[in-house]
């Protein structure tokens, strides 16, 4: 195996047959240096437009291999890029030119596409997606701008709707799933996202302040675009085409790209001298010689790529999950829906083991498409149901091979030869394909949806049921959590799917459960209390859950009066488990979503919990090694309950608006088993959190989603599914049950070999998801991907998908947290990293460079990410138990797109927005996560998709403070920040940026103010992963550590 790859070759795409190869093409920053002479890397990387193997590729470097198959058609390649590495230093100077680079290449269609959706009519499109015209924004609420609507509303339909123009690609088949007419579309554009009622909808994020009136800035948007626009990837692509435009500018620091400039302050007295290794990847030589400026770091990517999933009959290597790309489904599914840790499948299990890399799929069946993508097409086979392999039951897909004039077809998964049903016969063309292949989505698209025929129905498709359960115990009422929940629900009602099949119900609880029957037409609702919390029941069979159209008014009234009704409630206990159980019983006949708003530790009734944390603390102090047990559910009660919920298709989402320990470890079992998630607002602030609560809720109910789903992944013979992980319930080994599945949830599927593949064969994966749309249609979404097999270890490394692999590692770590001590988990993570790198070093790198740390190009950021993971909340020793549990809980269903930032946050400077020059991107380029980038006169935003930390140095210009915070002094400004928009350009920009991030992440960041000299400031600094922290290595030290480990293993 160990073939020393020519210096770059392996890593760099050049030689590689696949254009895809280039994915890895971004040499690490330092590599540049060495590379300088090596054009190839970039070259390969190159083909921008389309398939970019990796986003970076897009920009660039097509030059060398321009024509290559992948992008043959790719638009303007990139002229500019060709001179990838001109020389490092050069980079900086280039900055100004930035724009051109982008504009040039992209200016074409893609550019439009991306923007358009959000910004509304291009012309109109104002920069501030959320903010709307600045003028309008008089209101304090951050997001609120009313004016915005237009842009969004316009935009929205497109989101799901696919290209603005024609929604329905194939007239023949019924509907484009997302497309068109509201009625049908599962997410049917308009209704859901407010497109339809532009005027009426409240801005999603406007929430707290001006709730009602404005709408959706966010919502619509986020849903739609978010993923699409994901922040530019952070690939470390220094040189390649990059130079001209992209990177450098982004980082204000010289550091990155070619960035050789030594920075004075660096912790390690490194000399600028870098060892040059001829080898591809990044190389780090002995520690002392590491130049901190040259070590690999992600590089922001801002251009949009068009990615054709298969090119020339071959699977294309997908762009980085974090980059922005537009998928053209040409046979393989969009990588958003499903991507593999390796883009070539090892032929044997031994190869996997040797590589140290995981073999897994990340499936996110409802991932939001880019607004410019075609919608997934809907195919209706009528009574007959979708064509399936009669042996393995795989669904028809583009990789099934029709033979004998089309009379038979051979299953690509199990190899069985099936008779083609008479109705489905079609002649083959000269190329061996069916003549109608291009007209039938199921034969030419990686992803299609089938209308489920009767055999898939065990009962009528369930209605969309939303049941709200609100904690009204003393603390909840006092902290304002109850009021926040009620107001959020009330505002979110208008975002529920429209139609008679949308049902709602509500209950509140303290030490008893209060149901409300809203049936009684003109009368007041009837309040029914279930006091027996050991053995609960639903007090009514009907009338607790009603079509929203029948009870909206009374429900709104009720929601308004609940906070005052319980104003003087002195019941401190909370019967969370019992309340869920009782609500479940009410929902049992239909199933549906149970949205629980909980504020304190559940102290009574079925499933009550105890303040284990306190015990835990004392145990820790006495050196108890079992401390991690606190991260396990305390007992099986809630698990048992959750299994029952799942059986009856009830999905639970828990919103924890709390100011104390709530034992998330135990609570999260319920959402994670039923396809829901935990939302955590700690410490809850009645001032700043209601807006987030509302937006989270709104997104929760309005995002694309399905109910009563069953999912199964099939794969070609030779592999078998080893395990699924994510938020679901598994009753049989082959399938997972998802009471609900939505666009944010990802499921990881691991595989193991049970046979060998031939070198030139392809391995196919098919994920079939049977679900019910919110409008009550039963469908099967079938997602296919077929990847080439290889027996070359070097290919595995070259085609490794860093983000997916890292997501795997994060999830593995999360699953280990409850059962092992943090140090064990950290060691585990580190050794995973080391094993991979060592394998590469051992089998793929040239022998000559023994003194150097050699990183495979595709995985050059693995050490940095690993370091970030080690320092993440979940793996910290000092974290609060609940914070760690929460971290574990969100990781379990997190998508690739969000997993990386969660661990490796993004930091940008806010104080100098006015002077930045990279105007083409809304969000300024991000800064490396080390304290050198933190100036005392600066204001920085660091976000991880969950929280946004705004750090304010102690020497900030008071005028700047005044502009951003509306106050020249921060004394007295609460840590839990409400970011208001003031009438000045800076404030506007800050708000725009924050909103853009929210949109990208589909998450309303909780903003926290961190000030230097305050504990909050210290916390902020602890998030700078490259820094040396107490008990944690700096990035450079970590590289050294990794290197040493590898070296010691090698000997």
């Amino acid at each position: 195996m160990s073939r020393p790859p020519p210096s770059f070759t392996p890593q760099n795409p050049t030689p590689a047959p696949n254009p895809g190869g280039p994915a890895s093409s971004f040499p690490a920053s330092f590599s540049n240096l060495q590379i300088s002479g090596a054009p190839p890397p970039f070259a390969s990387a190159g083909p921008p437009a389309g398939n970019g193997p990796a986003p970076p590729s897009i920009r660039g470097p097509q030059a060398p291999v321009p024509g290559a198959r992948p992008f043959a058609g790719s638009p303007s390649p990139p002229v500019q890029q060709s001179p990838p590495f001109g020389g490092p230093p050069a980079v900086q100077p280039l900055q100004p030119p930035q724009r051109p680079p982008f504009h040039g290449p992209l200016s074409g269609p893609p550019a439009q596409a991306q923007r358009a959706p959000f910004r509304g009519p291009p012309a109109a499109s104002q920069p501030p997606p959320f903010a709307g015209p600045p003028a309008a924004v008089s209101q304090p609420p951050p997001f609120v701008a009313t004016p915005q609507l237009p842009p969004y509303s316009a935009a929205q339909p497109q989101l799901f709707g696919g290209p603005p123009g024609g929604a329905v690609p194939l007239p023949t088949y019924s509907m484009p799933p997302f497309g068109g007419p509201p009625q049908q579309g599962p997410y049917g554009g308009p209704p859901q996202f407010g497109g339809q009622r532009p005027g009426s909808q409240p801005p999603s994020f406007g929430a707290h302040t001006a709730p009602a009136s404005q709408p959706p800035p966010f919502m619509g948007v986020p849903g739609a675009s978010a993923p699409a626009f994901g922040p530019p990837g952070w690939q470390g692509q220094p040189q390649p085409g990059v130079l001209p435009g992209g990177l450098q500018p982004s980082m204000r620091m010289p550091v990155m790209p070619g960035g050789m400039q030594p920075i004075a302050g660096q912790g390690i007295p490194s000399t600028p001298t870098m060892p040059y290794s001829p080898h591809a990847g990044a190389q780090v030589s002995t520690p002392s010689k590491i130049d901190p400026n040259q070590i690999p770091r992600p590089i922001a990517e801002t251009s949009v790529v068009i990615f054709e999933t298969r090119q020339g009959g071959q699977a294309a290597v997908p762009p980085a999950a974090s980059s922005e790309f537009i998928v053209k489904d040409t046979g393989n599914c969009s990588p958003r829906l499903m991507r593999c840790t390796m883009n070539q499948i090892p032929c044997t299990g031994d190869l996997v083991t040797t590589s140290g890399m995981p073999l897994a799929l990340m499936v996110q069946p409802f991932a939001l498409p880019h607004p410019s993508e075609e919608p997934i097409q809907l195919v209706d086979f009528g009574e007959m149901g979708p064509i399936r392999c009669s042996r393995c039951k795989a669904y028809i897909n583009p990789f099934m091979r029709f033979v004998d004039q089309g009379k038979n077809f051979i299953c690509n998964l199990c190899g069985f030869s099936n008779d083609t049903p008479r109705e489905y016969l079609c002649n083959l063309g000269p190329d061996g394909r069916r003549r109608d292949a291009d007209d039938r989505p199921e034969l030419c698209r990686g992803t299609v949806e089938f209308i489920a025929s009767k055999e898939f129905l065990v009962r009528e498709p369930m209605p969309a049921v939303y049941f709200f359960l609100v904690d009204v115990s003393m603390n909840a009422v006092h902290t304002g959590a109850t009021a926040a929940a009620c107001s959020a629900i009330s505002q979110a009602l208008s975002d529920l799917p429209e139609g008679p099949r949308t049902m709602v119900g509500i209950a509140t609880f303290d030490s008893a459960i209060h149901f409300y029957s809203l049936k009684r037409a003109q009368q007041q609702p009837l309040m029914l209390i279930v006091p027996d919390i050991q053995d609960v029941y639903t007090p009514l069979q009907m009338d607790l859950i009603l079509p929203v159209s029948e009870c909206r008014d009374s429900l709104e009234q009720l929601l308004e009066s609940i906070p005052s009704m319980f104003e003087n409630n002195r019941v401190a206990d909370s019967a969370f488990g019992a309340a869920m159980k009782a609500s479940f019983l009410a929902m049992k006949p239909t199933g549906g979503k149970l949205l629980v708003f909980q504020s304190v530790l559940p102290s009574v009734g079925t499933g009550s919990l105890s303040a284990r944390e306190a015990e835990g603390r004392s145990n820790i102090s006495t050196g108890d090694k079992e401390a991690h047990k606190l991260l396990q559910p305390v007992d099986k009660t809630l698990k048992t309950m959750a299994l029952e919920f799942a059986e009856y298709q009830v999905c639970v989402d828990v919103f924890l608006t709390t100011q104390s320990y709530t034992d998330i470890a135990s609570i999260s079992v319920v959402p994670s088993t039923t396809g829901g998630r935990v939302y955590y607002y700690f410490p809850f602030s009645a001032l700043s959190d209601p807006a987030k609560l509302f937006n989270d809720l709104r997104w929760n109910i309005s995002r694309p989603q399905g109910f009563e789903a069953v999912m199964r992944v099939r794969c070609s013979q030779g592999l078998q599914v080893q395990d699924y992980s994510g938020n679901f319930c598994k009753r049989v080994p082959t399938d997972i049950d998802l009471p609900a599945i939505d666009s944010d949830k990802a499921i990881m599927v691991t595989f193991k070999h049970d046979d060998k593949f031939q070198e030139n064969s392809e391995c196919a994966f098919q994920c079939a998801l049977l679900y019910t749309t919110v409008y009550g249609q039963r469908r099967i979404r079938v997602i296919n991907i077929s990847l080439p097999c290889t027996s070359m270890l070097s290919n595995l490394f070259r085609y490794a998908d860093l983000e997916t692999q890292f997501t795997y590692i994060v999830k593995q770590a999360a699953s280990g947290i409850p059962t092992s001590s943090p140090s064990q988990v950290r060691d585990q993570v580190t050794s995973t990293c080391i094993n991979i790198l060592q394998s590469y070093r051992k089998y793929c790198a040239s022998v000559s460079s023994s003194g150097q740390l050699i990183l495979p190009e595709a995985l050059k950021l693995l050490p940095l990410y690993t370091l970030a993971l080690i320092k993440s909340i979940g793996l910290r020793n000092d974290g609060r138990i609940d914070d760690r549990s929460y971290w574990v809980s969100i990781v379990s269903s997190i998508s690739v797109f969000l997993a990386v930032p969660l661990v490796f946050p993004r930091m940008i400077a806010l104080h100098d927005l006015m002077s930045r020059d990279d105007e083409d991107s809304l969000i300024p380029n991000h800064l490396t996560l080390n304290s050198e980038n933190i100036q005392d006169d600066g204001i920085y935003l660091l976000e991880n998709g969950e929280d946004g930390f705004i750090y304010v140095g102690n020497a900030v210009n008071s005028a700047t403070l005044e502009q951003i915070f509306g106050s020249s002094s921060l004394a007295g400004v609460p840590n839990q920040l409400v970011l208001e928009q003031f009438d000045n350009e800076l404030s506007r920009k800050v708000n725009e940026i924050v909103n853009e991030i929210r949109r990208q992440r589909c998450s309303y960041l909780r903003l926290r103010l961190c000030q230097k000299g305050d504990p909050s400031g210290d916390f902020f600094r602890s998030l700078l992963v490259e820094d040396k922290a107490p008990g944690g290595l700096s990035y450079v030290e970590f590289l050294v550590h990794v290197h040493r480990q590898i070296q010691s293993k090698m000997t």
Binding site: M474, S511, H514, I529, P531, D532, D535, P539, L540
Partner: protein, 763 residues
């Protein structure tokens, strides 16, 4: 007989033997036990109520009474019962022969004390409505209107609680104004007081005391927490009305082959526990309105499957009613709890089907509750009875609470027990006999609820033996009974009523005549009826007919005049002469012939039998029959089929039903409308008179009897025919008089019965 009635007017008490058989053997041979039927709260003309506490004997705690001998000089009185000499207290110092305190006035053998010391603040009565909702809409509407009417009549100060039930129990929080609010309990479980305390937020915001009894405002509960559920009628009018207005059929789906799921037991358990938590010890009534059988949870009487019929007497006899014993046991527990708390269970059972009165009987009876059984909530029997409870007219029931009754008797008399609506307090004393009948083993009883009519049957045991010492006792030939009832008057204050009576011992063996002279045959019939009813319920394989026959024969043998073996010589003294007729009718009555009735009806009849006074009991046993005709004034006639004539109107009062029966001719005339024509005023009056009479009967009776108006040969005529002596049957020799009627029965007629009786008595 009139004298007995007069005695009753004075003291509210009647005894079968007004001369007491002198020895145990005598008493035994008298067949009818020495006993008394006492109406503790009988309204008595000009009764004295004094505003102070009574004087009690310091030995036996009996109360100073007109029979006590007093030494005015030394200011000493001697106890009537234990002969203890007691000093008058200081404030009696001015006592003299001419200056007697009322309690020594000879005519004040019954009087009441209201003592300031014993009367706290007037406790408001509490009404806890427990309403079934498993009914068809029509019935619910009837019930709603009845309840709405009731709500208006509730005394302003009274506290009201409201519980509805069906599949689940809902406790309505009337004190919550914002929206209708109720606590819902599962129908399958009993609910203890502890659970009520825990689950209904009685300690919200406060620490629950770890130990000790928690109940009521006196023991740990805040009045605010209580006032959520029990609200003064004057304050909750609106909420109460809206709750009543909002009553709906239980919403849970009922499969076609099933009964509604009705958790009567759980509902009553919740009500009892809630009252126990909130107002223990003060007067409260659970008023249960039930429209069908309990099928869910504790106390259920039948399964939900309609294929299983509700138990009949036959099932009970054969022990094939699997749920019966369990249910009775459950209600017995409820009864104990209620008695302990001093609360009453009233039952309004209105359904075509049985609802489980038989099982609930124990709880109703032990707490002294009222029971009304009707076919529908729309029926006047229910509606008028309910109104009567709250109407403060002349005939009000005078519902009182929390009575404790104690007795004292002269030496040699012991108490075996009480048959009637009360509960033994298990306060064993020398007065308690070894043998127990009914509520015994005590000399004190609790009556959680009692009213003006409530009558208890005390069964005594004469322990005096024939012997040398009997001579000594001849000296004091008198013996005394004292009844002390401490109760919460319907106006709220606590009162003490004392009745002291005196009777004579019969003098030795030559006493038959004395005994006969003192025999009150109506009371005797009432006592025998209660005894037979009680025995039928409690003794397995009891044969009531045989028992009654033997008792009657023994009595006749002992007290009749005859020559041995010569039936024709047999005669009875007027004091005894009607007694056989009572027994004849008792044998035929619903109390003994249960198989024509459902267990619920039987239970209902028995409960009424056991709480009514002598007069009404006699009406139940032997209905009265009045004949109206042109020829004469209305006149009572024999309860016999021969009383039927085409030109007569008969008015039958069998207590539970009042029947107006028009002879054929009368009916034809009436149908022809003569009564409306001029010149026929007499006929109109003739038609009207029985109705007037019936109205007076109905007015003063509770529960309101059912009025049946029928014509000869009509289907409803069975209500009359069933009660008549079948002297003319389809196979009897004597043909019916023209226009008369025959009864299709094989039952023996009274004549045949008497023949047999005479024959057997003289053997």
């Amino acid at each position: 007989m009139a004298e007995f009635f007069q005695l009753e007017e004075v003291d509210g008490i009647r005894m079968p033997w007004n001369v007491i058989p002198g020895t145990r053997e005598d008493a035994f041979s008298c067949v009818v036990p020495v006993s008394a039927i006492y109406t503790p709260l009988k309204p008595i003309d000009k009764m004295t109520v004094v505003p102070y506490s009574p004087l009690r004997c310091r030995m036996c705690r009996s109360i100073l009474n007109p029979f006590s001998s007093v030494d005015y000089n030394s200011k000493i009185w001697q106890c009537t019962f234990c002969f203890q000499r007691n000093q008058f207290p200081q404030h009696y110092s001015s006592i003299s022969e001419n200056n007697l305190p009322p309690e020594l006035f000879p005519q004040y053998t019954t009087m009441e004390y209201i003592s300031a010391a014993e009367t706290g603040p007037v406790a408001p009565p509490v009404f806890m409505f427990v309403v079934d909702t498993c009914m068809i809409e029509e019935e619910i509407d009837y019930l709603k209107s009845a309840l709405a009417q009731t709500a208006e009549l509730l005394p302003d100060n009274s506290l009201v609680g409201f519980i509805t039930f069906g599949t689940y129990v809902q406790v309505h929080e009337l004190g919550f104004g914002l929206l209708p609010k109720s606590y819902v309990f599962k129908g399958t479980k009993e609910v203890s007081k502890e659970q009520i305390l825990d689950q209904m937020c009685f300690f919200s915001g406060k620490q629950k005391p770890a130990t000790g009894v928690i109940a009521g405002t006196r023991d740990g509960l805040s009045s605010e927490s209580i006032s959520r559920f029990l609200v003064p009628a004057s304050e909750c009018e609106f909420v109460l009305n809206s709750v009543i207005e909002g009553l709906q059929k239980d919403p849970w789906h009922i499969p076609a082959d099933q009964r509604a799921s009705r958790c009567t037991g759980a509902a009553l358990s919740v009500a009892a526990s809630l009252l126990g938590v909130c107002v223990p010890g003060s007067g409260a009534r659970i008023m249960a309105f039930i429209g069908g059988p309990s099928t869910e949870g504790p106390g259920s009487i039948v399964s939900k499957s309609l294929s299983e019929p509700i138990r009949s007497h036959k099932d009970l006899d054969k022990d094939s009613a699997p749920l019966y014993d369990k249910a009775v046991k459950f209600y017995d527990q409820i009864a104990k709890q209620l008695v302990h708390q001093g609360h009453v269970l009233d039952l309004f059972a209105c359904a075509v089907d049985q609802v489980g009165v038989a099982e609930m009987k124990v709880a109703i009876e032990k707490t002294g509750g009222i029971v009304v059984l009707a076919e529908s909530f729309g029926h006047s029997v229910f509606k008028d009875s309910l109104l009567r409870i709250f109407q403060s007219a002349d005939n009000n029931l005078g519902l009182s609470f929390n009575g404790i009754l104690e007795i004292n008797c002269s030496k040699d008399v012991k108490i075996q027990g009480i048959i009637g609506p009360c509960t033994s307090l298990e306060k064993k004393s020398p007065l308690s006999a070894d043998t127990v009948i009914g509520q015994g083993n005590t000399s004190a009883w609790k009556m959680c609820g009692l009213d003006k009519k409530t009558s208890l049957c005390f069964v005594y045991d004469i322990s005096r033996k024939v012997g040398p010492d009997s001579v000594a006792q001849q000296t004091s030939n008198q013996l005394y009974f004292q009844y002390v009832t401490y109760y919460q008057h319907h106006e709220g204050q606590m009162r003490l009523r004392v009745t002291t009576i005196s009777r004579q011992w019969s003098s030795g063996s030559a006493s038959v005549q004395e005994l006969v002279d003192g025999f009150d045959q109506e009371t005797a019939a009432a006592v025998v009826a209660r005894l037979v009813s009680f025995k039928m319920e409690t003794e397995a394989d009891f044969d009531p007919i045989r028992w009654l026959d033997r008792a009657l024969i023994r009595l006749c043998t002992k007290f009749g005049d005859y020559q041995k073996e010569t039936p024709s010589s047999f005669s009875l003294s007027p004091r005894l002469s009607i007694f056989p007729q009572f027994m004849f009718n008792l044998r035929r009555s619903q109390f003994v012939q249960v198989f024509n009735n459902s267990p619920d009806e039987t239970a209902y009849f028995r409960m009424m039998l056991e709480r009514e006074n002598v007069g009404n009991t006699v009406a139940m046993i032997q209905p009265s029959l009045i004949s109206y005709s042109f020829q004469s004034e209305p006149m009572p006639v024999l309860l016999d089929v021969t009383a039927i004539a085409p030109d007569k109107i008969l008015l039958l009062d069998s207590y539970f039903t009042v029947v107006i029966f028009h002879g054929m001719t009368i009916a034809q005339w009436r149908n022809a409308g003569y009564q409306d024509q001029e010149g026929h005023e007499v006929f109109a009056k003739l038609l009207k008179d029985p109705h007037v009479e019936a109205d007076t009967i109905i007015k003063e009776r509770f529960p309101v009897p059912r009025l049946v108006v029928c014509d000869q040969h009509g289907s409803q005529a069975r209500f009359l025919l069933a009660k008549l002596n079948p002297s003319v049957t389809y196979n009897s020799d004597n043909a019916a008089a023209s226009g008369g009627d025959v009864i299709f029965t094989d039952d023996v007629s009274f004549d045949v019965f008497m023949d047999h009786l005479q024959r057997l008595s003289v053997q």
